[in-house]
Symmetry: C2
Subunit: 178 residues, 2 copies
DNA sequence: ACCTGAACACCGTTCAAGT
DNA sequence: ACCTGAACACCGTTCAAGT
């Protein structure tokens, strides 16, 4: 069967899941696909683009809904945690995409909308970015400390995650801080 | 003159400042020091340890003082920005050290103290980590977008940095969120 | 259009052997 | 004690040449 962008992304995702980001090299990917390293470059521009596409995939399954804006924001961060925590270095990969093309991430735009809808005197995008950055940092920390302590990651958000996120959302939505 | 840990760190810092993290390789460092690559390993365990030491150096110049706890926290984040923003990939380097040995960073412990002193019903360390993570993410974003847009970094914190940090500090210190 | 082979210019780390 | 030389096992990317 012929090589394709989709096949490359599928394999990349499986290598990331099974062996981690350190093992996700173009050459390793080519070996896994029984193909010469150069072949990959007919379908993708470079490694950075591949990782950005991988990040979009990961985030496509994360939604944020709830009865109120504040609850939707909170639920979004909870879903983000549960979706990403079990993917090795998943938070790091998403941070790459976030730096390169933030506007291409529907999840981020949804967060920005929720913030802007609740308070029109702040920039929804600035608030949304601060929130996703905080989430990713905390997820990354849980992932790396789990590796260091040679234990499994917590599949459900620890209380430190929840309180930190709540502090930030509360800080953005409370009227006194304007 | 003989090689030494100090000399290696000095050179590493200068390479990072002049050429960025991508050029800060052990081999490049060895060339710069007119020494064989293997020699470095007599003075430092590995590249990770070198980067962690570099991070400690960067943070050693950052203090947080002010009339109140809230102002000290705020001033600390401002100083963090101004000290790190002009070091290419500086935020990324510090994040490495933060993941490996957080308790070795006096700056972080100071932040934790300030939070704990103000509110004894929260974990100062959890709050401090959320704050430093947010700062580093925002600094990193400013650094990478500056590169992407081929412009200089803002030497003084942009308003988006300040409002985000203020939202988080306010969220942690306000009594309603407990 | 799609893929290979081979090259280019690199990595981090180890370790016997030298001084 | 400190350093070299050389090796080991890798990288990302390009590109003429093949089918």
């Amino acid at each position: 069967m012929a090589l394709s962008r989709e096949k490359i992304l599928d394999t990349a995702f499986s290598v990331l899941n099974q062996y981690g980001l350190a093992d996700l090299s173009m050459r390793r990917l080519a070996t896994e696909l029984n193909v010469a390293p150069g072949s990959l470059y007919y379908h993708i521009r470079n490694k950075q683009e591949l990782l950005a596409s991988l990040a979009s995939r990961m985030l496509s399954a994360v939604h944020c809904t709830g009865d109120t804006e504040a609850i939707s924001l909170y639920n979004g961060t909870q879903e983000l945690y549960t979706q990403i925590i079990s993917i090795p270095e998943g938070a790091e990969v998403i941070r790459l995409a976030l730096a390169l093309h933030p506007e291409d991430l529907p999840f981020l735009c949804k967060l920005a909308e929720l913030f802007a809808h609740q308070r029109d005197d702040i920039s929804g995008m600035v608030a949304a970015k601060s929130l996703i950055h905080l989430c990713l940092s905390l997820i990354e920390e849980e992932q790396t400390t789990a590796v260091l302590e040679a234990r499994e990651t917590m599949l459900t958000p620890p209380s430190s995650y929840q309180t930190s996120i709540q502090a930030l959302i509360h800080g953005w939505l409370s009227t006194e801080c304007s």
